[in-house]
């Protein structure tokens, strides 16, 4: 038969390890509609049964505060026939059962996988699974997800439950006299009115009203406003009474009640301790070093530098393969097709676009692998712990550091994997603020532009200026984060109530699946959009092309050059003979190249991008940018290093390779409209303006809405422009 299994459990309970063990590579990662919570599902075959397994997000509770909790609860309640496998960390039984009780209060068909039973035993805890099963009145199976132990027994139990469609009477926990009288009354009223009872048990609804659960209050109000108001009034009465007599809240008594219930169960011979609970475990010993006030930060810095190198140095080799592959493809297409729009579209639009999409793959792969190792081992939580003080000052979270570093916090990263690394952040506002500010970091693509301008105008202070701009990018990002968190992302800091999980060796299977799924998701979801935009940008830089009058004029100049040169020189150049050209032939070649460069410049100026750049000159001159700079900046939206090559074209130097920029550098030094002040103004603008479109696509995807992608383009550009104007105007006043 076919049945759905929902895996529910605390974070770090080994839930995902069990899921991987059950489904192997036959799994699918997506998103729950409208939220950024990952939805993982897969198939498991057992003894003629086909299970559709859903790995619910890890939660400590089933309140309605976080997206994860709402998603998990909605799935459990509306999932209908799903059998729930509740993964419980045996070494952490007390706290894990808190979620189990809430599943039982919902009356769900639950079986418990008592996971990591080996760790519990090592800690001197002997757990009587049969006794626990009797007391909770649900099946309990001891498992070790990492080795697969207990998996078959667990599936046998789940299969039996799915077949017999057991219906559990919702668990009733006594919450003490103060609440019980009100709860009983409310339950009776709810049951009599059939208030939301098609979805939830009546007592559960009463408890949720008592807990002030916003989702249930909203649904209740929609279903029967009058009854909902009566229930709320009753809760308020109880709450006021509790406040005045005991100085506490109804939800506090409910939590007390649940923990009291767990305590009473565990006391009845479920757990026996063979040695003291207070002894130091391996994790504590490791933490004594890794969290040490002095060594902790040093080790952390080393680990982050290591991750950075791992991501960007080791990915260079596969990135190089992709580059040569696409370079070869572009070269082959270039040679095989006649000059024209089709060739230009194929080479500059599609091949470069696909190459652009895939060029990020090794980076993303290495980044996710590195982060997965840090996360699964438990170290990432320690990093967040050590740095939270700094980041929370700016309205961020300790875990924001990873996305910042990867995006270029150490100059030379990339915002695309950086934005994706923000997935490790669970608090929504802090996460958005991180997503929106990481593109300010000096990524590897901005470096050639910075190097060009600094090299041209500040050749003697190169190292200091590079360092200064790295500091500036951090300062800008953190201050903007603070600004966002006090305006558009205003709101209380998400509590830093976080578990420091025991250190564990990551499993190879977990790492492989984790990394592969995410990379594939990027290629599939982001890749198509990126390719589309890349073609669009190509069109912007190409169309509408030169007007006929200018074409004719350029053609006339070409004819004039060819006619004025000696025939043998024309022949030698036409043959493409590069060796041993005669003096006149070399001169002719140079003149033709200059003409080609002039044509490229004219074409660029007539393109849509060029027209935008020219039209903006009136505004951009406030920051000292002429139309050539504007066009280059428009081009930079494709990728920041394109600024260099576009600037080269705009200055009639032909395509400038970002790595060979001496000619461009000399031109800029000589150009009257350029000065050190303009260079600084341009650098500041490039550091902070709209992220490249690949980053924008990723921000939109990770934030769950295009609104935020658009926001990052508009806001960053306005912000960068204001800074550039400030720099240029103040600089002109002081210097002039």
């Amino acid at each position: 038969m076919e049945a759905t299994l929902a895996l529910a459990g605390n974070p770090n309970s080994g839930k995902t390890t069990l899921f991987n063990e059950l489904t192997g590579a036959r799994q699918h990662v997506g998103n729950y509609p409208g939220v950024t919570v990952e939805r993982r599902e897969g198939l498991h075959a057992y003894n003629g049964h086909s299970f559709h397994v859903v790995d619910l997000p890890g939660t400590y509770s089933l309140t309605a505060y976080s997206q994860e909790e709402i998603v998990a609860r909605d799935f459990l309640v509306n999932g209908g026939t799903a059998t729930v496998v509740n993964i419980v960390d045996a070494a952490n039984l007390e706290r894990n059962l808190y979620l189990s009780l809430q599943l039982l209060e919902l009356g769900l068909p639950v079986c418990i996988a008592l996971n990591m039973i080996d760790v519990a035993e090592k800690r001197g805890m002997i757990i009587d699974t049969r006794r626990l099963s009797e007391l909770l009145r649900v099946p309990v199976v001891a498992t070790i997800a990492r080795t697969g132990m207990g998996k078959t027994d667990l599936m046998a139990v789940a299969a039996e439950m799915a077949e017999t469609a057991v219906y559990n009477e919702p668990l009733r926990i006594s919450y003490g006299e103060d609440l019980e009288i009100a709860l009983t009354e409310m339950e009776a009223e709810i049951a009599a009115a059939d208030f939301l009872t098609d979805t939830y048990p009546p007592r559960w609804i009463a408890v949720k009203y008592m807990e002030n659960d916003l989702q249930i209050l909203e649904r209740g109000h929609a279903a029967d406003p009058a009854l909902s108001d009566r229930l709320k009034a009753r809760v308020r009465q109880v709450a006021d009474h509790l406040k005045s007599t005991l100085d506490t809240y109804p939800e506090a008594l409910i939590a007390d009640g649940r923990y009291g219930y767990i305590h009473s169960i565990l006391k009845q011979g479920v757990v026996t301790h063979t040695h003291s609970q207070d002894r130091l475990y391996l994790t504590d010993r490791i933490d004594q070093v890794l969290l040490n006030r002095f060594f902790g930060p040093i080790i952390m810095l080393t680990v982050m530098l290591g991750l950075y190198h791992f991501t960007f140095t080791y990915s260079e080799v596969p990135v190089g393969w992709f580059e040569s592959l696409f370079g070869w493809l572009a070269g082959w297409t270039d040679a095989a097709l006649p000059d024209g729009l089709l060739k230009s579209l194929l080479v500059s639009g599609i091949i470069e676009g696909v190459g652009g999409v895939l060029g990020f793959v090794p980076l993303i792969l290495f980044m996710f692998l590195g982060i997965a190792i840090l996360e699964d081992s438990g170290y990432l939580a320690r990093v967040a712990f050590m740095l939270d003080r700094v980041f929370s000052t700016f309205g961020l979270h300790g875990a924001s550091v990873m996305p910042f570093i990867i995006s270029g916090g150490i100059a030379g990263g990339c915002a695309v994997p950086g934005v994706m690394a923000a997935r490790t952040l669970k608090s929504p506002r802090e996460r958005l603020a991180t997503l929106l500010t990481v593109p300010f970091m000096n990524c590897g693509a901005k470096l050639p532009v910075l190097a060009l301008l600094i090299g041209a105008f500040f050749a003697h202070n190169e190292a200091w200026l590079m360092f200064g701009f790295t500091i500036l990018s951090w300062a800008g990002a953190l201050l903007v984060a603070k600004l966002l968190r006090s305006t558009v992302l205003k709101g209380e800091a998400t509590p830093f109530v976080m578990e420091l999980p025991p250190y564990r060796l990551p499993t190879f299977k977990g790492l492989a699946i984790h990394t592969f799924e995410r990379v594939w998701q990027y290629v599939k979801k982001a890749g198509t959009v990126i390719l589309g935009i890349s073609v669009l940008l190509w069109a912007m830089m190409t169309f509408p092309g030169l007007p006929d009058s200018e074409k004719a004029e350029l053609e006339a100049r070409r004819t004039a050059i060819l006619e004025s040169a000696p025939p043998d020189a024309v022949e030698a150049v036409a043959d493409g003979n590069t060796a041993a050209l005669s003096e006149p032939a070399i001169r002719l070649k140079e003149r033709l190249e200059a003409l080609n460069a002039a044509r490229a410049e004219a074409r660029l100026r007539h393109s849509i991008a060029g027209r935008i750049g020219t039209a903006l000159e009136g505004v951009s001159q406030w920051a000292g940018f002429n139309w050539r700079v504007n066009i280059a900046l428009v081009g930079g939206f494709a990728a920041k290093e394109v600024v260099v090559s576009t600037l080269g074209t705009a200055y009639s130097l032909g395509e400038t390779d970002p790595e060979e920029r001496e000619a461009l550098s000399d031109t800029l030094i000589d150009a009257p409209e350029w000065s050190p002040l303009v260079a600084i103004s341009v650098i500041v603008f490039i550091m902070f303006y709209a992220p490249c479109f690949v980053s924008v696509v990723c921000i939109a995807r990770e934030a769950g809405s295009w609104k935020w992608g658009l926001f990052s383009m508009v806001f960053n550009t306005v912000f960068a422009f204001s800074l550039a104007v400030l720099v240029y105007q103040v600089g002109s006043l002081v210097g002039g």
Partner: protein, 77 residues
């Protein structure tokens, strides 16, 4: 037994939670992790910048910012 604020506890000091004076999301998160009155806790240490604080309870380690720990009153020996 004297009652003090969790922020005032020293490293390695043990105590029993007397009250959690927080409602809303913060209160819920604190309680969900098992920090309810009557629970034994021990301060395990603090981050290099003295905030957040790490504490041991019910066999696992938990972190809290100081301003969140302010809502928790602890009876210490």
């Amino acid at each position: 037994m004297p009652r003090i604020n969790m922020r005032q506890m020293k490293d390695n000091q043990s105590g029993t939670i007397a009250a959690v004076k927080a409602g809303g999301e913060l209160g819920r998160r604190i309680r969900d992790m098992g920090l309810v009155p009557g629970t034994d806790i021990k301060i395990q240490g603090r981050a290099p910048l003295y905030d957040p604080v790490a504490l041991r309870t019910r066999g696992f380690t938990l972190t809290l910012r100081n301003r969140e720990a302010d809502h928790i009153e602890v009876e210490v020996a």
